[in-house]
Symmetry: D2
Subunit: 505 residues, 4 copies
Amino acid sequence: MSSSTFFRSMLTTIADRGRALLRRHGPMVEDLLEDAAKLMPSAKGPARRDLPSLCDTLLTGRGEASGVALAGQILERWAELDAAGQRAFLLDLAYRFGPDPIKLDKAIDAYRAAPGAGTALALHNAAEARRQELFRRLNLAPGGTEAVVRMREALFRVMAETQGVEKAGLEAVDADLNHLLASWFNRGFLVLRHIDWTTPANILEKIIQYEAVHTIRDWDDLRRRLAPTDRRCFAFFHPQLLDDPLIFVEVALAPDIPASIDALLAEGRAPIAAADATTAVFYSISNCQEGLRGVSFGNFLIKQVVEDLRGELPNLRTFVTLSPVPSFAGWLAKERAKEASAVLAPADKAILAALDHSGWHLDPGTAATVSPVLLQAAAHYFLKAKGRGNKPVDPVARFHLGNGARLERLNFLGDLSPKGLAQAHGLMVNYLYKLDDIETNHERYADRGEVVAAAAVRRHLRADAGVDEAKPPTKPKAGDKTAEKTADGTAKRAPRPRADPQPPA
Amino acid sequence: MSSSTFFRSMLTTIADRGRALLRRHGPMVEDLLEDAAKLMPSAKGPARRDLPSLCDTLLTGRGEASGVALAGQILERWAELDAAGQRAFLLDLAYRFGPDPIKLDKAIDAYRAAPGAGTALALHNAAEARRQELFRRLNLAPGGTEAVVRMREALFRVMAETQGVEKAGLEAVDADLNHLLASWFNRGFLVLRHIDWTTPANILEKIIQYEAVHTIRDWDDLRRRLAPTDRRCFAFFHPQLLDDPLIFVEVALAPDIPASIDALLAEGRAPIAAADATTAVFYSISNCQEGLRGVSFGNFLIKQVVEDLRGELPNLRTFVTLSPVPSFAGWLAKERAKEASAVLAPADKAILAALDHSGWHLDPGTAATVSPVLLQAAAHYFLKAKGRGNKPVDPVARFHLGNGARLERLNFLGDLSPKGLAQAHGLMVNYLYKLDDIETNHERYADRGEVVAAAAVRRHLRADAGVDEAKPPTKPKAGDKTAEKTADGTAKRAPRPRADPQPPA
Amino acid sequence: MSSSTFFRSMLTTIADRGRALLRRHGPMVEDLLEDAAKLMPSAKGPARRDLPSLCDTLLTGRGEASGVALAGQILERWAELDAAGQRAFLLDLAYRFGPDPIKLDKAIDAYRAAPGAGTALALHNAAEARRQELFRRLNLAPGGTEAVVRMREALFRVMAETQGVEKAGLEAVDADLNHLLASWFNRGFLVLRHIDWTTPANILEKIIQYEAVHTIRDWDDLRRRLAPTDRRCFAFFHPQLLDDPLIFVEVALAPDIPASIDALLAEGRAPIAAADATTAVFYSISNCQEGLRGVSFGNFLIKQVVEDLRGELPNLRTFVTLSPVPSFAGWLAKERAKEASAVLAPADKAILAALDHSGWHLDPGTAATVSPVLLQAAAHYFLKAKGRGNKPVDPVARFHLGNGARLERLNFLGDLSPKGLAQAHGLMVNYLYKLDDIETNHERYADRGEVVAAAAVRRHLRADAGVDEAKPPTKPKAGDKTAEKTADGTAKRAPRPRADPQPPA
Amino acid sequence: MSSSTFFRSMLTTIADRGRALLRRHGPMVEDLLEDAAKLMPSAKGPARRDLPSLCDTLLTGRGEASGVALAGQILERWAELDAAGQRAFLLDLAYRFGPDPIKLDKAIDAYRAAPGAGTALALHNAAEARRQELFRRLNLAPGGTEAVVRMREALFRVMAETQGVEKAGLEAVDADLNHLLASWFNRGFLVLRHIDWTTPANILEKIIQYEAVHTIRDWDDLRRRLAPTDRRCFAFFHPQLLDDPLIFVEVALAPDIPASIDALLAEGRAPIAAADATTAVFYSISNCQEGLRGVSFGNFLIKQVVEDLRGELPNLRTFVTLSPVPSFAGWLAKERAKEASAVLAPADKAILAALDHSGWHLDPGTAATVSPVLLQAAAHYFLKAKGRGNKPVDPVARFHLGNGARLERLNFLGDLSPKGLAQAHGLMVNYLYKLDDIETNHERYADRGEVVAAAAVRRHLRADAGVDEAKPPTKPKAGDKTAEKTADGTAKRAPRPRADPQPPA
């Protein structure tokens, strides 16, 4: 027990120091800077050395005598730079802190002369850009990890405004940062934490700010997502990124698979007891750190949360998302604009013209007419339309299918928010995480590009479309009752008003 | 405040899980293994796949769907291996998980055809041994970081028994591990913690076990080093190496620079109030993790502790070690054996013959005769004798001088323990850490190979040896009172019984 | 260090259990109740025993075998009572759980027969109402302490609606509760905690709710009071009243003594560095627990906070409040209504007629005319008007003067909020906490009823009022620079627009 | 989650301050004392006021202005007293700080004139010794709670050396302290904590020191009781008694009910997995605070631990003690010395003469002869012999039977330590805590004085003794399988070597 509390308090040192400084600053910080200056005599004097020169010193210092102070000084200088200064320094990183070409040439020659473990290692070292070691040494300074993450955010801003050969140089810098941050933010170093209404306000503030799927309007809205007995939230943190989550997921505990985000988040709703829930619904996943783009956390987070929730609530049987369909409306607009769409018949297009009138969904008659056509198009969008690399067009689908989830259900008018109507005509979908099938699903998707989907989804495809002819529907394994019930139950159930109504046979 | 307590508790997740498993095991672990098996279907069935094949799968898996489970499985298999099995696997790492030679050749060609940031990066990637990525992926599993550290310990054992080309292969594996661990155990990720009598017993147990300089005999002995008001202990921890220190230093708060470890650790001594101390004495520094050999912590630890102590106790003016001299007796034996020693005159040798009689130091007359000769030889040992790379022979001296410390004083009969007498005829020394001089000292040592030493030390050299003639004694800066007082004070002080008595002029 | 972290985590047990229950309930709580029922067989069966009968059992149970379960059961029953049921039970406490009159008579006789330590003790025990022990035993149940506090809140509600003999009975119950809670909530058991922007949201929510002086409008408003570098908040907690503060104080760090709450809380203001502040301003103190009415925390809180802030920020020299004057407007209205007021001349009344027009303070001319008259009246209100027990009329003044503070300054138009204008025509005052004088001030106030005030306050009294003639103004001690500066500086300073403007000489 | 970590850290304030002071003392403490002196001017000057006079001031002070400082000062003075000074002060408490006799007389008159809730309350207040309020006010000072506990320890020492009327006075002081401490250390304020090998060393040190049943020889011995997977230890703490347990219990997890402490604590034994255990054995319960004598914790502790262990380890079915029999040898000696013992026939006495030879138990033949006679006597000792208040002679039996446990089994030669042989000829017993029966058992014991015992125990009584004839053996309820198995199983099982062997029928 208390060894873990010992361990807990281990990490406060840095935090407390940082905070004390921020709170009191004035004299104390000056003292520190003075100390740093003593350790770093070359920084004294009237002429300030330029940043690349300081970086050279940090890299070439034989001992670590002044490494911490020097790294801190560099980060301070970096923090003072304006946009132009940042750009200049990043280009310096690209051109002046790559590998040494002469050493590299020699290493190549040595390897070619005698290929082997030793020469290959030497070649690897010689080919490493010097900035890699520079970034590692910047991490000596307090706050170094975060500073490197923020530096990559700046790099993205500069890259967006850069073209041609300079861009290629910056891309090499980015590749090095990506490599380094993937190592530092390895899943083994991350810590999963519950976020709830007893979490410190400065962290909750970040949750409000970072929520990227369904906007959290204010603290009352946040409270409704954290405090009720049937709500959960989990986040990954890194020991060095104090008070700042990397990614978080919001979960609703429910009696069955929900079809509408509006119902899920309704203000007046009555929470259920957690122990009564059979279904955990992941309804929002948000990445928080732009500077960690490309370092993937989501897959680990979902699987860890599934494991934790199963431990806490043994009654949970179903783990499912309620997900947006961000590119559907754009894709559909293109199909509607095509003279001859393979998806939409002229009659379909006529029906879908209703979508151009705002408020169409409020008229039950219109909604009933639009529903079968829209769902048929959506089934096509998910199952047959392909984007880059022969992957589905939808980015959220790519994420969940890549994780081994199955596309479980299409939900007509599941999200009536302006954003939901604009990006997907209100469509939402569920992806099912079924532990026994995750590996197989993942392989089917990754190896064969197959979109694993429940029969209920495939059924929305036109009979004559012949999509499923090619391969027989996945036969549920014996005992796979969840799958049976979910998929078939959906199809057989009496039509639900706003979610996934079935066309007459 | 409580955000840092929030943060503290962040890291308990892993710890608590691990402990719960260890405590309850039985059914629960089986469930987990079953789950893992589901995620990793290839592991099912009667034929167990071999370890390298599992590693290949971990490396080539396109998604991360089963990475955590697979990494866990590999570590489990590794843990079951006997010595022969470990050796075989490590050789596999050396030969089957190096860089791909064909890809490497192509990358070389591409670079030579068009040298640039992009091709250099590609070359760097191609030259990276595949095991690097393997180690990073093993870190996905809970306990992965520690497992990799322990794997390197095994590697050292195997390397010690291996010769020739196989050894070279293992060395490449070691180089990769060293590179990786240096990045993971970057000072920016370490946490400094006070160790005291309120520290959990399982951690204190490790302190007893890891102490490498002055053996801690039992818990009472430990208590005497931690509980008194004038004692401190600090350790670096890593968030992933639970309950296991990386390095620690024991500190005594004292009214002046001590000359004898026996007095410092005497059982009956009366502690002083911390606020009355002017001197912090680092009397024992122990590295704890053999698997992190080559990743340096000591320099950062000492400097951090100096900073912390200065903050806590503003009266502290002097930061100094009381250090052993591990190679002195060996070196002296060689000099005594030489027909014509440049250090020892025949008369000196005759006097030093007393050292061959155990208990020589108990006779005051003998000690008084031996003292000047031994100290003169010691001054030579530190200031003039050179080992590999033109560095001092003494490893402790290399460490502290490399950190920017100054050799401050030689203490005759400072350590009367069997070990102290055996390795250094009782000699101990002080190294002084003076913040204002650290950088200059470091440069003098690193650039010019100069052993920075107080005048009091140099004075032990024979006048006719002419050592100091070459360069004038370092002139103390104005206001450098500590240095003045310490160096001169020592010389002028009335002879202290067991430490550093001065010969008559 | 870690022993205190050990200690910290000690208290989580109860908290975690309670929370786990609240989160999961359903089956688990039923199990617990079942267990409790097993321990308490008399509670089984169709006929529920009445509450007083359960209380009798709890009191007479010879062992503690079922005390915890029985206490829990009683609290559960109490929680189910409606208003009438609560009233009935509280009257039962008054009449059926007083002292046993027969035993009391015997004890009196025994004492009168042989007065002594033993018979007095027996008499004391016999005179103790049985409900005292009942309350102590209710505390065996988890949540018992809070339940008793809430029970007293209910008692206050019932008392407010009760008259005559029944009221006297309830007052005896209240006296017992007051006695018990004063012992349980003794300052020795309270814990002072910083409240800041990193405090858990469920506690901050309570701060918003309990703030009683200057309403906190929303979370942004709260953030402005907690997050800036020059703001602090401290609260007392009790280990058994989880997540619920007892009292808290909000503090502003400032360069001098502020005259206006509006300026202090202005949205756009620029915070100063804490280390630059010379003055800590207590601008809001709120008691949180109605059920602890009469148990005083404020005096301890202020003194503890002064001590803590002095430790953290050595530059702080002045500790002062910025306080409302809640009864001033009511008192002034009475004086204005008197035919012959000893305070207000007819000309004064004419000038003060302006107060009857809302918005009077917005016209600079009117404000300038009103100012001297209002301040003169205020000086009278504080220094000469007396309420019950010959104490000042103003309750806030009684609190701070009783603590040993000095009335330091009157601030004209310091609070322009509707509440501030309604209760005090915008007047605010500062009370000064000067460590060296606290004891003397307290004695002057407590023994002699003297209102200790700065010369600047007394000067507002009319010259002909002769108030100060009787006793010479307190002579500042040599070196008492703070007092000099504050009092005189205020008087000599150029007129500040809204605070304490001086009449022309 | 983090709200509880917030809460945890609440209590560090006092702890950290105290520790900081102890570590640094010197200047800081002097400052504090100076501050205290300022707050308490009467303490200045050459003539120190006497302790009772300071106590009077603390009691009569109208405000709390200087309460904290004054209480601290009194405790400091108390700490400086020698034995004679302590005695004098405690007698002062007895005689000068009782109730005011004049006020008490008036209150009696008032009550007799008009008996009622109000006058009874006033009488109760008047009869309260003034020292009660004094103790409550001493608790204002940091460390006050502990100081009062320690003061009662001193009181016990003084009482032991005091006779007559002075003793009566001191007993009144003790009664007041007992009353107060029972309220402060109410179970509702206690916190249960696991003690294990990760507990801070300063707390573990106390466990070694306080262990009162089976001595813990050293840290290795302690480790064997805390670290293995099948061992647990739990302690109650009070938030104000930092780092100091009140009571603790050591638990072994076992496959069945153990008969021998030597086997249970054997050095070489192989631990079992906790999840495999069916039986939790409470083998040592130690009260830690002499100053809390009479405030009972043991019953609450055992029941809380049963509840916790059932939650953690659902396989646990049996909760049982392995207990010493501290008065058995003394009682048996008296029976053996009686000319005509109702328990021992002359033949029995002859056999028991073997007990007078040390080492008798090492001879299997002797042991086999002694066993039935000793066990028969033991059964008599527990079931028929009565001490004060018609309760069992054995204090451990009174404790467990009073808690509702059942005497389950007699274990011949269960404790071969010198202490075990000396006090009970090696006899140990098990008491069974069976949740469903606790209440009934408690009532049978408390109301009817019945010693609830398993049939296996009663069977040791001589058939002709007729003990059980009077009342039929308790019939186990249907489904009471544990009882069946334990009691009967014991009897039918093959003779176990050292525990409870059965005589041939």
